[in-house]
Symmetry: none
Subunit: 412 residues, 2 copies
């Protein structure tokens, strides 16, 4: 921990931004939900709108967090696979090519019957399935193929060897009742990589189709489908980049992987499930603890995004209530005379869209050094009238490191 | 037309932005004029300020429209000449150099007596004059010199041949009672181009000075003066760039030429004169028709800009009343549950300046997916308090394509 004048926290409601919902009389879920803690923060802070990447651009979780951590995704984003792999403890070295994967269910003809093999419960046999895959397909054309299971039906594949190239397409057709796609090279230099991946997929099918773990499953996990290819990003560690020690408390492997790349302390909290049932108070307590020993803590509570993807404003409001309780705990347990906190979202996931969108999100900066404005409610439209006006994701960390004293003068 | 969740419209009042006018008690023409339709749109929409290029930068019509169509003019703008030429149906190929031109009146000594040859009425003899120019000066030093008349005193020149270079100066002195300027090469590589253009101008004088068409003219069109040099731009077609089919309804050849480059459907409306007398209802009807068959329609009504250039707030207000009537027709005939519309200006043309300026313009986004704010009047200062805050021209199309569903997620 450095000798700064203040510390910083970023609290994110994943996908919390939204559009007017007719059933909420044209309010957004954030505007409609009672959020006493977030309102108190808005009232005491400096509010605005934030475009995670740029106006109108729908951000992924990965690109949004890169941006919020001060790394312009147009410069630094090299694909999702490496973050996913790193998040579950795999190494991805320079020259490696990494994919995120799903266990899926196909018929004899490789038509995808269920893209998630029925959403496998927590590690229910997937370590055994992964071991079978690695035994059957550990090396292809001299390329080491390392596969590891993640949560539910997810996993990651890392290819390590000579002459690899990431310019290949997905095997996952992204819809059901479609055939598994042949992986194609988008550049001649990627021909070997495409061949290896296609070969690897065939071997996963051979290794899994009659595997005992699948015997009783309604949706046998009988194939592994790679997508989201990428190579190791070149990211300066967070502390070297921003002169603040950093901790990360998030619920998804993808963002944990980004934290590992940035050499932040990635803290995994028991009870933080990434689901609607997550223990937001355990997360808030972990933030307070991490705050004691770090200059900067980023925390993301995942469930508002799930409500958006599920198209349910009720679930999204319940998730926002959890975010509010976590925020309330931080209000009570953090010394804001020596801390500045930003509360915002990594992107909008409107219930009408059921996916990420490019709509800007509410943001508030609260605590030491901020200039409180006259906004008194947290939400997209109240915040739009605030003193921060409209900023971008990459601005956030600089605004914070300015207030913590970590930001160096440019010029003299 | 693609399978999007909504369609988009951009309605522009050309040059409609302004500064406070003392005779209007410090209001701008937009603020002072009664605009019931625009106010209804502001009331139901999300308002803000927009810098066509960047704060303080006075935009040309061409660079502003490039920007609003999502092409950063700092990257894509290669000069006005090619758009002007394309707009009147001329080809401009890679390697060609194109100029916009004026018919002008000079004395024996080549002092410019009237820069626009008295603003020639619609095609009054200019096709015959152009034919004479092309006969006299069709090929110079092996370079093909194609000239074509446009509206009023205007035209375009396209040079096609080996070794051309656009780094040459204008012949038009831009003021009267000054001598025609010798075209100079700003780089040695452009020496041949400068020589060809100077030679071509001399031949236009020789071909026109005693031409019968000029016999009865007070201001004989006895020379053609090139300016606004440029080369063919490299622009990805609009639909390929934005995943929306696009139509354009504008009144000036320059912007029509841009539309042709972008392979948009450029719709020419009978009665759309580009003048104060334009038939704004015919334009509005054409927008409604184009909207039925396209994902995106851009419409520009030219006359507010004329009021600015003429320094007349009365004429500008009358032109804004026309814009308002067109907007009212769209309100009545478009389904805004499935359409999002932006109403703004391509730039300010303050009556006090009589030219384009870098003042930001009012903007409102209205219709499906927008977050209505509490602004209830259209105009620079009412809109400045709205929920869009302050955006840039290049953001507009992304904000729209986010709401139509055409914008792809960046990252995952």
């Amino acid at each position: 921990m450095s000798e700064l004048s203040a510390k910083a926290i970023v609290l994110l409601g994943d996908g919390a931004g939204d559009r007017p919902v007719p059933q909420l009389q044209g309010q957004t879920p954030l505007e409609a939900q009672a959020t006493p803690a977030l309102d108190e923060i808005a009232k005491g802070g400096e509010c605005g709108l934030m475009d995670p990447i740029a106006p109108g651009i729908p951000a992924g979780s990965d690109t949004a967090h890169l941006s919020l951590l001060g790394y312009d995704p147009y410069t630094y984003y090299t694909g999702r696979g490496p973050f996913e792999a790193r998040g579950i403890g795999m190494r991805v070295q320079a020259g490696d090519v990494a994919f995120r994967c799903n266990f899926a269910t196909v018929d004899d003809d490789w038509t995808v019957l269920n893209r998630r093999a029925g959403r496998i419960k927590e590690k229910e046999g997937t370590p055994e399935l992964a071991a079978a895959v690695n035994t059957a397909a550990g090396v292809i054309e001299g390329v080491q193929c390392a596969f590891k299971e993640s949560v539910e039906h997810r996993g990651a594949l890392v290819l390590h060897g000579e002459g690899l190239d990431p310019r290949v397409t997905d095997a996952d057709p992204h819809t059901e009742n479609s055939k598994v796609l042949e992986v194609r090279a988008e550049d001649p230099a990627a021909a070997k990589t495409a061949r290896v991946v296609n070969h690897w997929i065939r071997r996963t099918y051979e290794a899994l189709k009659d595997h005992p773990v699948n015997a009783d499953r309604k949706w046998p996990a009988n194939i592994v489908l790679p997508r989201g290819v990428g190579v190791a990003p070149h990211l300066k560690p967070f502390q070297a980049e921003h002169a603040m020690s950093g901790a990360m408390i998030v619920e998804v492997a993808l963002i944990q992987g980004l934290g590992e790349y940035l050499e932040m302390d990635v803290i995994r909290v028991p009870g933080a499930t990434g689901g609607y049932d997550t223990d937001e108070m355990a997360i808030a307590q972990a933030v307070v603890e991490a705050h004691a020993s770090h200059d900067f803590v980023l925390c993301n509570i995942k469930c508002p995004d799930l409500g958006g993807h599920d198209g349910s404003w009720e679930k999204k409001q319940a998730a926002i209530a959890k975010l509010d309780r976590a925020a309330g705990y931080l209000l009570d347990h953090i010394d804001f005379d020596h801390t500045v906190m930003v509360v915002t979202a990594d992107h909008s996931t409107p219930v009408a869209v059921k996916d990420h969108s490019g709509d800007p999100v509410a943001i508030v900066a609260y605590g030491v050094g901020t200039r409180p404005d006259d906004v008194s409610r947290y939400g997209e439209r109240p915040c739009a009238r605030g003193g921060l006006c409209r900023i971008r994701g990459v601005d956030v960390i600089r605004i914070l490191s300015n207030l913590t004293g970590a930001q160096k003068k440019f010029g003299s």
